[in-house]
């Protein structure tokens, strides 16, 4: 892999939880490299460690062993305030339950991401522009309870995208949507991935999402048991 394309590197990352005297490994000695512009799909059954893996990359949890290096920086050893800055500038999150703030309308939810990262210029215009791009031009003033699941997830996607992060992490983004809407959302992500070059790491149970991914990882019992890259993409890398 070319060093200049390397965005994320996990070196022997383990994360365990204690139950009595026993250690339960959510991640067990995981090694992984993610390139800039990748669209990665992580598949696996419940409890396989998918979300724990995302938490390590997203800087909301720390490994018990190993290193998580993002953009050349070891984030697993960053102090709390630096880690918060990392989350604000580098990562965009998309959650299964959308997690929009019910008391803020669509554009405000999107712009909040800018406010928290300290980028307050033209927030309203930028938020409305990006919402228009995902087909929500007429819904910018609606509050989350007034929108459908698909619309809410689009808003959540805009919220993640607006600050132009290096990496967007999506935890079961289609888990709370019907199949058709789910596909629409994933296609939209893929579109944005291709147009903007933003790296996406998506976790899902849904095998049908494989079609849009450049690379598919299978995680079982905290270990990557399969790492499949699409041939065309593999050729380009070579």
């Amino acid at each position: 892999m070319r060093e200049d394309r390397l965005l994320v590197k996990l070196e022997n990352v383990s994360r365990y939880f204690k139950m009595g005297d026993q250690k339960i490994y959510a991640l067990n000695n995981v090694n992984l490299e993610i390139e800039k512009g990748d669209f990665i799909l992580i598949l696996g059954p419940s409890g396989s460690g998918k979300t724990t893996l995302l938490n390590q990359i997203g800087g909301i949890d720390r490994p018990d062993q190993g290193k998580v290096i993002v953009g050349g920086k070891d984030i697993s050893s960053l102090p709390d305030n630096e880690l918060t800055k990392y989350r604000a500038k580098t990562i965009g999150w998309v959650f299964q339950f959308f997690n929009l703030i019910p008391s803020l309308n669509a554009w405000e939810n999107v712009a909040l991401s800018l406010e928290l990262s300290g980028d307050n210029k033209n927030m309203e215009k930028r938020a409305k522009d990006i919402l228009a791009r995902v087909g929500l031009k007429d819904k910018t003033d609606l509050f989350p309870p007034q929108m459908s699941g698909g619309e809410q997830q689009r808003v959540a996607l805009c919220r993640a995208l607006i600050k132009k992060p290096l990496l967007i992490i999506a935890d079961e983004p289609t888990g709370n949507l019907d199949h058709k809407t789910g596909l629409e959302i994933v296609n939209l992500m893929k579109e944005l991935n291709e147009e903007e070059g933003t790296t996406f790491v998506v976790v899902s149970h849904d095998e049908s999402l494989k079609v849009v991914a450049d690379r598919v990882l299978h995680l079982v019992d905290g270990q990557i048991i399969d790492d499949h890259r699409k041939p065309q993409q593999a050729m380009e890398t070579l």
Partner: protein, 501 residues
């Protein structure tokens, strides 16, 4: 407006009932604290002004028996700190009104129309003049209670002599503003008649002798008051006149007033403090619930790069915004309360002119205290934010903490739910299992009840105090009038030899 501020305002609006409760508690707390202190300040400053205007005594000497005024004429020259001196002849007598008799004090004043010291304000009628021997002035509170008016006839009785007088004026005197009987030291609102008439008219009750028994002084330098008072008393003593010395602030009426007005302080602390405590508890309880219900949102904010500090400040602002709103309502409410209480004081203790001046001091103090309290309440609740991990944004359902319910208690719940519905278990387990929250709710209810009880007690206690004075001290079984004045020590020796007294 910053987006987090928008979120705050909308969420406060969304939880209207709780927000209103918090705002009202803070408002009441500020109103009680500020209002009661304000009325105390207003009453005291009005009284102090009255004392100054009406030349209230700095100290008084009372002789055991009336003396001839010529005996102490040179006293002013002996003590340099004396500014003014006045004297009068006061007789403890009885007034008869429509066949009913009341305790009375008739003051024979040496200067007309107004004495030099212990003056009075003519509220109605005309001042006294030498050419009207039957004219008399009556104290405002007694006149009000007994429906006396200008031109009414009254009969004063002393030493078996009774004389008729015609009311020429109704006056307010700082000596009787509280209707306190100088002998018992307890309020006798409306039952103690104080009258002023020319000294020559009072002397007629004593066979026209040139006698006085009360001498009043005002000093030049108040810092030397006590020293001067004792100097004067010694000077009288050297003339063979034994006297009782009373400083102006030790006068019974003054002391009762100080006590009465002073206990507004206690009520200000009690009512203001309890309502402020309720506000803190509600703020803490509401914000704890809000923080708990927004764990996922807090997780999202943290995941999106919100710092712990920023988010804690955001949630702490909930309590502070409500407190500021509470203060905005509480300050005018407190001022209205002070006007109401001022009128209440005027009506029950016959204070004729208490200015309703707004003073920022008590309210600033109350607002600062309320803000500090709500900061503590919201800060404590917001402190929990530190425990919310960004990963909490991932979870869709709050499982909650396991409840620790003793086995025996849980068995009792089981028995209860067998008889009734299984859904009964939920609230019972919630109450028993969530001990902290349940204790907090019980605490709030107890405090709220305390506020209600204290408020009701506030009005009751004033009257109860007066009743107690009457019951314990004032009501006598037997009253005896002596034909001629005697030294009280000699009188006491005779009386206490009689068994049963």
């Amino acid at each position: 407006m910053a987006l987090l501020a928008k979120k705050l305002v909308r969420e406060l609006w969304n939880m209207k009932v709780r927000s209103t409760l918090i705002v009202l508690s803070i408002a009441l707390s500020i109103a009680f604290y500020g209002g009661l202190f304000l009325v105390k300040d207003n009453v005291l400053s009005s009284l102090n002004k009255t004392y100054e205007e009406l030349h209230y005594e700095d100290f008084a000497l009372r002789t055991y028996a009336p003396i001839n005024q010529s005996q102490f004429q040179g006293i002013l020259d002996k003590v340099s700190n004396i500014g003014e001196m006045d004297y009068r002849l006061t007789l403890k007598s009885t007034v008869e009104l429509l066949g009913e008799e009341f305790s009375a004090r008739m003051h024979g004043i040496s200067q007309l129309p107004l004495p030099i010291i212990n003056q009075f304000k003519l509220e109605k009628g005309e001042p006294l003049t030498e050419d009207l021997p039957k004219a008399i002035l009556v104290e405002l509170g007694f006149a009000k209670e007994r429906s006396l008016d200008i031109g009414d006839e009254i009969t004063l009785i002393y030493g078996g002599v009774s004389k008729q007088f015609i009311i020429r004026g109704i006056v307010f005197s700082p000596e009787y503003k509280y209707g306190t009987n100088p002998d018992t030291g307890f309020p006798e609102i409306g039952s103690l008649g104080a009258f002023w008439l020319p000294i020559n008219q009072v002397k007629t009750f004593l066979g026209n002798q040139s006698l006085v028994n009360e001498i009043f002084f005002r000093v030049r330098d108040k810092t030397l008051l006590e020293q001067t008072a004792h100097e004067v008393q010694s000077a009288f003593s050297s003339l063979g006149i034994e006297t009782i010395l009373t400083l102006g602030t030790e006068e019974p009426d003054h002391e009762v007033m100080s006590e009465d007005v002073g206990f507004l302080d206690d009520y200000a602390f009690a009512l203001g403090g309890i309502t402020a405590l309720i506000a803190i508890v509600i703020i803490y309880d509401s914000l704890s619930k809000l923080v708990f219900s927004q764990k996922q949102i807090i997780g999202v904010l943290r995941a999106m790069g919100g710092t712990k500090r920023k988010i804690t400040i955001h949630y702490t602002m909930y309590g502070l915004v409500l407190s500021i709103l509470g203060a905005a309502i509480g300050i005018p409410l407190g001022f209205l309360l002070s006007i109401f209480l001022r009128n209440f004081y005027i009506s029950i203790v016959n204070l004729p002119f208490v200015a309703a001046k707004f003073q920022a001091g008590p309210f600033i103090e109350a607002t600062i205290l309320a803000l500090v309290f709500s900061f503590i309440g919201s800060g404590l609740a917001s402190y929990k934010i530190g425990k919310v991990k960004p990963a909490q944004a991932m979870t869709g359902f709050e499982k909650g903490k396991p409840m620790h319910i003793p086995r025996r208690v849980d068995k009792a719940i089981e028995r209860l739910s067998r008889k009734h519905k299984i859904t009964n278990k939920i609230p019972v387990r919630q109450v028993i299992g969530r001990k902290k929250r349940s204790s907090l709710t019980i605490f709030t209810i107890v405090l709220s009840s305390l506020v209600v009880i204290t408020s009701l007690g506030f009005t009751d206690s004033i009257f109860a105090q007066i009743d107690t004075y009457y019951d314990e001290y004032y009501k006598y079984n037997l009253e005896a009038y002596l034909a001629t004045p005697i030294n009280p020590f000699i009188g006491a020796n005779i009386i206490f030899q009689i068994s049963g007294i």
